[in-house]
Structure formats: C-alpha cells, structure tokens
C-alpha cells in the first residue's frame, strides 16, 4: 500500500485555473466537495480527505485517488508515493505547476487584451505579454 503525501508548499490559489490545468494534463473528470474521502488502488478508504479528487479509475491502472485539499492559501496536492513516482513519468507535479502557470499567463493576457510571444530556452519557457 502506497502512503499519501501532502505537498502543502505547492499551492494553487484559483480553483478554476487548477481545474483547467488538470484538464490540460488529461484529468478533466474531477469530483468536488468538502472532505471527500480518498481511496487506494484496491478500493480501500484512506484517512485523507480532499476538496477536489481525481478518482483512481481516471488516473491510471494501479493508481490511487489523487486529491487537492483546501487551505487558507488555496489548494495543495495529496498524492500517493506511488503516483508521484509514476504519473506522467514522475513529472505530474512539475507539469501541473507549469500548466497552472501558463493558465495564469493566459488569464493576464486576456485581462490586458495583449498578445503573447513564446520562447523556449532549454528547460525555461519565456512568455512575453505586450499590450
């Protein structure tokens, strides 16, 4: 059984942008509520709860539920050790942060009615918004 880890230092402030970012990564089916229980890959209920949950069936074979708990600053991920290491080749959390950041940029661009120019430099993506 893979234990759950809570990443309280990774906070996504805006719920809709987080949902959009999850959809960008292919996880568009998300349960929403208060204190939703998390289940492990064998259907075993765990002690952890979350406000947003991607159910294990939508995560992958052998996966556990993937949750986001609400804190004062936003939503933080609760992910099993197994899924952290295997989901999206172990890049789930960095890729989610990138997807969220890109959603933030798009939100700002729309608000300013600007244009965006994208440049990739190695592992860095630079997005310049002009308006």
């Amino acid at each position: 059984m893979s234990k759950y880890l809570a990443y309280r230092e990774i906070v996504f402030r805006d719920r809709q942008l987080l949902l959009d970012s999850l959809a960008d990564l292919g996880f568009s089916n998300v349960d929403m509520g208060d204190d939703l229980p998390l289940y492990g890959y064998q259907g075993d209920r765990r002690s952890e709860t979350a406000a947003l949950v991607v159910r294990r069936q939508d995560v992958g074979s052998g996966s556990n539920d993937l949750g986001f708990a609400k804190s004062e600053g936003g939503y933080f991920p609760i992910i099993s050790e197994y899924d952290k290491g295997t989901l999206l080749a172990g890049q789930f959390l960095p890729r989610l942060r990138v997807a969220y950041a890109e959603r933030v940029v798009e939100t700002v661009r729309k608000r300013l009615r600007g244009s965006v120019h994208r440049v990739t430099d190695g592992s860095l993506v630079k997005l310049r918004v002009r308006y």
Partner: protein, 69 residues
Amino acid sequence: MPELEFTIGTASGEFQLHVHGIAGPACDDVAKLVKKLLGNPSHDEATAEYRLRPGVRIRSLANTRAKRA
C-alpha cells in the same frame, strides 16, 4: 510598450515575472492580479532600472516555493 515577461521552469514549475515599462499604479494592478492567482511571491522588488528611470517602474516577482525532496 509595456511588457510582462513570465519565465516558467518546466523541470521545477518555478515561476518568475518581470514587469517592464509600466508606471506605478498600473504596475501594482498587474502585480495584484498575479498575486491573486499565484499567491504571495517569495521575492518581490523594484529593480535598479526603476530607480534610474523615474516614472517607469520595473518589478520583479518570483514564485519559487521550495520543492519537497
């Protein structure tokens, strides 16, 4: 022309914003919106260029929360 330069580290998910050529209150509006969506930055400063060019404010925001090992 006002420009916002966002830098995203694809390996870490770290996020930086540099605001160029935007006068004070408008710059604060942009910074406020980004903070609303990202949270308070780990680092926030008016750069040296701002001090050299009165009336044009350049800010640097970094959201670089530590990654758990």
